[in-house]
């Protein structure tokens, strides 16, 4: 990608982030549960209420509040203070982020392994029973509710057949560091990341399969075959290389689905990440935390799709030199 188009892409991502934040601000102020409505029913005296409104800037006009809110975020990284935790929202989110990143990345890894592996199996012979079987499983994959899959996984693999723990990041009393600590985390990670990665891979599998089958129809594959290259090598080297650019985009698009899924999976597996933090915030009407979390995951998605475009350009010379 040339510098000009890269810059254009970056600017449009920034505009997108600004729109996102604006949507979030107006959501907060359009809702019946907004702070001033909560204050009105809080039983405080008018003077106390006015004091709180002044302290939080609620007595100012809406455009002024909007500019101050946006200014605090952009200039100071100040997203406000959580009602329930009484700590800066950003601090809470940053604390919870590593657990979510660990879960999402290992889920993504499994997602890619399963979808590329399945697609290679299916594309080997289009229309064979194996192809149909893989396609049926992928249809099941995106038709099952991920939270239900999680519950059933706990029921079968943690209760009836206790191979894995039922949740949490570590065993009670286990130390954080060392090899045994790592192994403990990995043991807790397997079930949630398999469910999260597996449940979302149906769509990716179909995309990769379609682009593999597309590639197998191209002249360069026919040429490779004529040269005597084996079927396995044609698939895994020649055709897969062709399917890679699409895959980079898919990863960018899979990010919202992963964030979605990690929310319910974290709730079910008591995983101490951003999803569970936000869910608890939603339950306790902790608006600063909810809105910052919503806005930041939107920003994350925009960033993800920007990076996916960069990766796409990097693996696809047609885009890179365009």
């Amino acid at each position: 990608m040339r510098a000009g188009s890269l810059l254009r892409r970056a600017v449009s991502s920034l505009v997108l982030v600004w729109l996102l934040l604006t949507v979030v601000f107006f959501l907060l102020h359009a809702a019946p549960g907004k702070p001033s409505a909560l204050l009105a029913t809080s039983g405080l005296s008018p003077e106390q209420r006015a004091g709180i409104e002044r302290a939080y800037g609620l007595d100012r006009s809406l455009p002024e509040q909007y500019l101050r809110w946006l200014g605090a975020i952009v200039l100071d990284g100040n997203w406000g203070v959580s009602f329930t935790h009484r700590r800066p929202v950003l601090e809470l989110l940053v604390e919870a982020f590593p657990a979510t990143a660990l879960l999402s990345l290992s889920a993504l890894l499994f997602h890619l392994l399963a979808s590329v592996g399945g697609a290679l199996l299916a594309a080997r012979r289009k229309g064979s029973w194996l192809d149909r079987g893989v396609q049926t499983v992928s249809l099941l994959g995106f038709s099952l509710p991920v939270f239900w899959l999680g519950l059933m996984a706990i029921l079968v693999f943690a209760s009836w057949w206790p191979l894995f723990p039922t949740g949490h990041l570590r065993s009670p009393g286990a130390s954080g560091g060392g090899l045994s600590g790592l192994a403990d985390v990995a043991w807790h990670l397997i079930l949630p990341s398999l469910v999260l990665g597996g449940a979302s891979c149906g769509g990716t599998l179909r995309l990769v399969r379609a682009s593999l089958i597309d590639a197998l129809d191209q002249d360069y594959v026919r040429a490779a075959r004529a040269k005597g290259v084996s079927q396995r090598r044609v698939l895994t080297v020649h055709a897969l290389r062709n399917a890679l650019p699409g895959l980079a985009q898919v990863v960018g698009m899979a990010l919202p689905a992963l964030l979605n899924g990690s929310l319910v999976i974290e709730v079910i597996f008591s995983w101490p990440g951003v999803g569970r933090l936000l869910f608890e915030a939603i339950q306790s009407s902790d608006y600063p935390l909810v809105l910052a979390g919503t806005a930041l995951s939107g920003v994350l998605v925009v960033l993800g799709s920007f990076l996916a475009d960069l990766a796409h350009a990097w693996v696809d010379p047609r885009v890179r030199d365009a």
């Binding site: 959501l27 019946p32 907004k34 038709s143 509710p145 939270f147 239900w148 029921l155 209760s159 936000l278």
Partner: protein, 332 residues
């Protein structure tokens, strides 16, 4: 393609069966969905449980595993104890009655099958309502954007991009938490977060049709912008939108179930499949059936709609393109 038609029909049959089950729930269900005959004795019973019960004079029921007739009345084995009930204690004409719970019971002795059948009504009706709403909003928004000045069109579509960047479940949860909608208003939340992709698709379609000669001809003959839009542009652009509707229904069923599972969707006393799974989560190990069966119901409904949607998409697009991808890329 015979295979495609077979999966279309399989989908239609699944959807029709579940739809009928929901429509006819009051007649099909063996019990009223909220009837708690004897919460202590009938709670958390596994699938296939059959109990015998007697109606007492005050209208309550006592349910037990075994019943024997004695000289003065009945002897009932209830919760491992023998309980004697004299004829005088019974409601008038209250003879023994057999209770069958094909899929088991929940914690307060309600019949799971009856709750699932009634839940089908809630889940399916809500999904159809939400998709109708999302399609109306999306068609209007997309058509307006496509026929507006380029700068306005651009701004409108960037707003769609911004809304699509939120993880949809988080957006719905936030809306549900802020507005605390009733069960019917939940359709607004579900539909209000689902129209963006419709509008992208409609806009791309309308733009495509607008470039064709029939529109130039219509413009040349002096038709108004509104008339061109309603008479020529929309009728020629909506087929792919309707073809995708079944896939959206499938997605909305999943979204509603997730919201309800998390306690922010359908509120009691109404019950959808998602809320029943929520009930079953706490007793997953003691009473697995409460969480397991509603999940299967959701899966069947979603598979049915997905099969219809995929078959329609391929039948209407003989090139066999991937509609999901086209949907996302439509505006680029």
């Amino acid at each position: 393609m015979p295979e495609r038609r077979a999966s279309l029909w399989l989908g239609v049959v699944l959807v029709a069966l579940l739809g009928l089950a929901g429509l006819l729930a009051p007649w099909l269900a063996p019990h009223p969905p909220d009837a708690q005959y004897d919460a202590a004795a009938a709670g958390h019973r596994p699938p296939g449980t059959s109990l015998t019960g007697l109606e007492l004079a005050d209208g309550r029921w006592v349910l037990g595993d075994q019943l024997e007739r004695t000289a003065e009345g009945y002897r009932l084995r209830r919760l491992g104890e023998l309980r004697t009930i004299t004829t005088a204690e019974l409601a008038p004409g209250g003879g023994p009655h057999r209770f069958l719970f094909p899929l088991g019971t929940d914690g307060v002795g309600r019949d799971l099958l009856s709750r699932l059948l009634h839940g089908a009504r809630v889940s399916l009706a809500l999904a159809l309502l939400a998709v109708a709403l999302a399609m109306t909003l999306g068609v209007l928004y997309g058509a307006i954007a496509a026929t507006s000045k380029p700068w306005l069109d651009n701004l409108m579509m960037r707003l769609v991009d911004a809304l699509l960047a939120f993880p949809p479940l988080l957006l719905m949860l936030t809306l549900a938490a802020l507005f605390r909608p009733s069960s019917a208003l939940l359709a607004l939340v579900l539909g209000g977060t689902g129209w963006m992709e419709v509008s992208r698709l409609v806009r791309a379609q309308v733009k495509g049709v607008a470039a064709r000669e029939l529109i130039t001809a219509a413009r040349a003959s002096g038709l108004s912008r509104w008339r061109i839009l309603t008479r020529h542009l929309l009728p020629n652009s909506l087929t792919p939108v309707f073809a995708l509707a079944p896939l959206w229904v499938a997605n909305v069923i999943l979204a509603e179930s997730a919201l309800s599972f998390l306690g922010l969707g359908i509120q009691p006393p109404d019950a959808s499949w998602g809320t029943i799974i929520n009930d079953g989560q706490e007793v997953l190990v003691q009473a697995w059936w409460i969480a397991a069966f509603p999940g299967l119901a959701i899966a069947l409904a979603v598979i049915g709609w997905n099969l219809i949607g995929e078959a329609l998409r391929e039948l209407l697009d003989p090139r066999g393109g991937d509609g999901r991808r086209n949907m996302g890329d439509a505006h680029r």
